[in-house]
Each structure stands twice: as C-alpha cells, then as structure tokens.
C-alpha cells in the first residue's frame, strides 16, 4: 500500500482526510485512481493538457518527481507520496 498525503487546500475533496491510500504503480496512475475516488482532484493537480501544474509539487518519499521521471515515476509498496502546493499566506 502507498500512502498519499493530501495538503490542506485539497482536503475538501477527500472529505477532510489528510492521508489516503493507493495501490497505483506510478504517479500518473495514482492521480487517475484518486480522481475516480475523489472526483475533481485531477483538475487541481493537472492543467488542461494533463501536465502537472507548475505550482504543485509531488514528492515520492522525499524526492520531487520533477527530478525523477515526472508523472511516470514508479510507485512501490511502502512509498509515501506528498502533494505540496505553493501557499502564500503571511
């Protein structure tokens, strides 16, 4: 099982859950699978061309997937995924 950490701004979509689980084999599969359980989440993560938005980062364990293999970054049992959007409050 892979644990996915949901940031505060997206929790209204996950019924308030800060962490959800997935069995996806890659980040792109994870996004699709999250979107089927929590409709609307894909739109918040990806733009209309399906690319990850440039103010949202996804980390597998502690590594930003932009510096791995992007959305194709593989996931394996025990991985921890964090979704981290830019926030600006001060």
């Amino acid at each position: 099982m892979i644990r996915v950490r949901i940031p505060t701004p997206l929790r209204p979509l996950t019924k308030g859950q800060g962490e959800v689980e997935t069995k996806a084999g890659s980040v792109v599969e994870m996004i699709e699978s999250l979107n089927s359980t929590y409709p609307g989440i894909k739109d918040r993560l990806c733009d209309e061309t399906g690319e990850l938005r440039r103010f949202v980062n996804i980390y597998v364990n502690e590594e930003d997937i932009r510096f791995l293999t992007g959305k194709d970054t593989p996931l394996k049992n025990g991985d921890e995924v964090s979704i981290v959007p830019a926030i600006a409050g001060g």
């Binding site: 440039r54 964090s82 001060g90």
Partner: protein, 254 residues
Amino acid sequence: MELTEQEIERYSRHIILQDVGGKGQLKLKRAKVLLIGAGGLGSPAGLYLAAAGIGTIGLVDGDVVDLSNLQRQIMHSTATLGQPKVESGRKTLSAINPEITINAYRQLVDAENILPLISQYDIVLDGSDNFTTRFLVNDACFFAKKTLISASMFRFEGQLTTIKPHQGYPCYRCLYPEPPPAGLVPNCQEAGVLGVLAGTMGVLQASEAIKEILGIGETIADKLLIYDALDMKFRKVGRPKDPACRSIASLILP
C-alpha cells in the same frame, strides 16, 4: 562596534552559548534584516529578532492595523488599531529593545522600489500574503544576492525554506516555477488561518535568520519544511536546483 555593558547583560544568555558568544552577538548587532510584511509572520519574527539584538530591522508594509489582524499579528494591539502596521510594529519592537534601530517603510514592494530597499539589508524575511510579492521578492533577492528566508501558511499548514542561490542553492522558482493564476488559490482572508500557526512559522523564520547570520547549524536551503499543525507533523522534502529554472528568463523584474 562593541557591545555595551548593558548589552552584555541583556544578551548574557546568548553570550554564554558557545556557538554565539560575544563575537556572535556582535554579528547580530551588525546585522540588518528586512521583514517584508508586518503581519502574521512578520510579527513573531520581528519580536524575536528585536529581542535577539539584530542591530537594524526594517519593516515594510502598506496596511493599517485592523481588528481582524489581532488574532495572529502579535506585534500589534487593540491600542494601535487604525495605525500603520509599520509604526505599530516599530513601537512594539522599540519597547522590547530600545538598543536597536527600526526602519519603518509604509509601502508595498514593487518592481521599482524593491532593489534599492533590499540593497540596504543583509537578510530578507518574506512574510507577504500573495504570490506576486513572493515571486518579486525571490527575483530581487536573486539579483541582489541576498539570503531570503521564506515562510508561508494556509489554514493549518505552513512551509519554510531558505533561499540563497548566490551560495549555490536553489531559488524559489526552482521549487515552484510559476505562481497559480489569480483567484485559483484562496488567500488567508478567504480560507482562514490558525492564528498560532503564524507564531510557529514566524519564529522558525527568525531562528533560521539568526543561524544564517551566525553561520551555525544546518541550513534548510536544500529542503522544504512542511508543518501540519493538525497532525503535529514536521516533514522535510528535498529541494534540488532545477536545471530548467527560468529564474532569469521569466523575471518579474526588468
């Protein structure tokens, strides 16, 4: 520049620390720190930086103190409602430490005024409340080679990192290449923020600023700290330099 007898007594709990000492306290006295935003983050950061004996603190903010600020902006008080935040802040910081210089700039930062402003300081703390300012401050600090301690918050969650590309570390655009389109991400006014979260994040900013000035401990310049107040979890993720970073090409500054 030396420490007076009064200062030696005031900062004695610092001076006794091996990693600070009289030499370190003098570094703090010589240091000039600019706070962009005298609000939720700037308040606790300012209070501790003033108490720590940072010799010159600049406060930049265009707003006046509003009743809805007081749930978290602890540099201000009911007695200073309606006053410019930078003036209210100056009074509070001077009351804590009359030995230091506090410069108040009642203005918003923009592409015109930011470079001359930050050039007078060693370290910049970003406690602003919008993405436009955050990208502008990053770009200006990039050009001026100033270390930037950046914190931000949203509801129950805070982020912190130190930005110093002039020392080979990534910039803010390496972390977030572009700001979200206006209106997509709600601000604190629309979304709310736990007041005490501002305290946690602002004090962490002050702590990192003091470490940078003293040159002690580990920098957070290659990490992003994420704090979740509800889960009571601090997590750090890697923050590498982005070889495709457009920090020069897409600058807000000319």
